[in-house]
Amino acid sequence: MKTLVWVEHDGSAVKDATLAAVAAAAQMGAVDLLVAGSDVQGVAQRAAGIVGVGTVHVADDAAYAHALAENVAPLVVKLMADHDAFVAPATTTGKNVAPRVAALLDVMQISDILSVEGEDTFTRPIYAGNAIAKVRTRDAKKVITVRGTAFEKAAGEGGTAVIAPVESTGDQGLSVFEGAEIAKSARPELTSAKVVVSGGRALGSSEQFHAVIDPLADKLGAGVGASRAAVDAGYAPNDYQVGQTGKIVAPEVYVAVGISGAIQHLAGMKDSKTIVAINKDEDAPIFQVADIGLVGDLFKVVPELTEKL
């Protein structure tokens, strides 16, 4: 079996989520990569260093510059003539592109896999992770997205893959990229941070969110996350959201500050190694999953904690 893995990148670096997808694909057989983008020879070089890869297919064309699904899907379909499976990380890009590919191949996608149980059998979370389904596909070709936190990452350096250019399938003329507001932060990325500090509705305002959460995160070298309620209220930007419909994280330590612990939030963080919860309500559901709980007023407790660390 030969798998084509989507390389998630920002135009220069290969994103970590790719390495988990490669690890999942490696459990199924031989692995090739696809680097699509504009001016991506550097990315291709770096991708060729990922351990365990045969060929890096590189499609360098303006049509692929922003990974528009309309343009990228036909490219993947073309390469799928020589591959048995297409695997993408379950990032917003992977989730956008892979189902379109699946439909064009007449394949039922298997989303967000947690494990590879055999050539055609996988486990995946359903109902916000309250249940784990083991599914077997009868499709000849497979289209899969991979939950990054569920797989040990493949080594990013030391590999010696061959780089092979692919001819562009062109711009389909259906969509135009207009712009992006991508948050720049010196902090570790949420999905790969070793420590994450998240704030909830209790923070009360954007000012207080930053005044209370940021210094603690700085002390711990942590990424910063938020509950949906905090994001909806405008205390934190949308890319901070952790949960069923936000980002899935599984850091060494997850610190939940003023977060009640709704199942939709737990879905995004309950595989963290150690969960610390700070909440003034001793009956808050978050304490049912917390390894270490502290009952108290966050506005008092968190500054004191930051100070004493």
């Binding site: 189902p99 064009l104 298997i110 989303s111 109902y127 309250n130 249940a131 077997r136 949308n238 390894d291």
Partner: protein
């Protein structure tokens, strides 16, 4: 201008799902079912576009006879007409996308709005698949939708922040949580919805093969976390964090 909206009946988001002891699935007997929250947002968005040139909203659901309730809710919110495509067996996203494609070919909508994900299967596929099958643009995970002549501009929630794309109509949109806040249907509108048209079809009527591609071998509960401890004060917490090597 016509908008098609796909709505699914799912376990209410406030209900804690319980895995059946025989490992065959999640227990849906005698539990509250509701419209998928993302689909409420999809219906709401279509209604709000009525000020922007939308003249008709058609809602579609694929499911068993009870999905009628979900369609009636959408009609009470403000949709004009409903289509129920019945199926005894659960239809996978690929099958739903094929049915929606057939409906779209009949109805010829300018815009099709779906939720980004159904909170039962958490697949996040159907909209993208439908766009692929129809060969049209897809604005997924939308937090803002601006309709213009012949095009729609969609702001999308992506991992790094926000992204804006312009799509040629007809196009597909899938909704994210912050697109809007759905209205509650008023009692008079619930009464009025009872007389709005609701057509009943089957997948076979559209000549679509929806036989499943996946077999669920087993559904189990995730590993339970060990009970944790409570610390009395910040000093005790600092001690724990230091012992774990998180702080020094």
């Amino acid at each position: 201008m016509k908008v098609l909206v796909a709505v699914k009946r799912v376990l209410d988001y406030n209900v804690k799902p319980r895995v059946k002891t025989d490992g065959s699935g999640v227990d849906l007997a005698n539990v509250k079912m509701s419209m998928n929250p993302f689909d409420e947002i999809a219906v709401e968005e279509a209604i709000r576009l009525k000020d922007k040139g939308v003249t008709e909203i058609v809602v579609v659901s694929v499911g068993d006879a009870k999905a009628q309730e979900t369609l009636r809710t959408a009609l009470a919110m403000g949709a004009d007409r409903a289509i129920l495509v019945t199926s005894e067996e659960a239809v996978e996203p690929l099958g739903v996308a094929k049915i929606l494609k057939a409906v779209a070919e009949e109805e010829k909508p300018d815009l099709i709005i779906l939720g980004k994900q159904a909170i039962d299967g958490d697949n996040n596929q159907t909209g993208q698949m439908l766009a692929g099958l129809l060969g049209v643009g897809q604005g997924t995970f939308a937090s803002k939708v601006e309709l213009a002549d012949g095009s729609v501009t969609v702001t999308r929630e992506v991992d790094g922040g926000l992204e804006t794309e312009k799509l040629v109509l007809p196009a597909i949109i899938t909704t994210d949580l912050r697109l809007n806040e759905p209205r509650y249907a008023s009692l008079p509108n619930i009464m009025k919805a009872k007389s709005k048209p609701l057509a009943q079809k089957t997948a076979a009527d559209y000549g679509v093969d929806v036989s499943p591609r996946l077999t669920t071998l087993e559904v189990r509960e995730p590993a339970k976390r060990q009970a944790g401890i409570r610390v009395a004060d910040v000093d005790a917490l600092v001690g724990k964090l230091k012992a774990m090597g998180v702080a020094n």
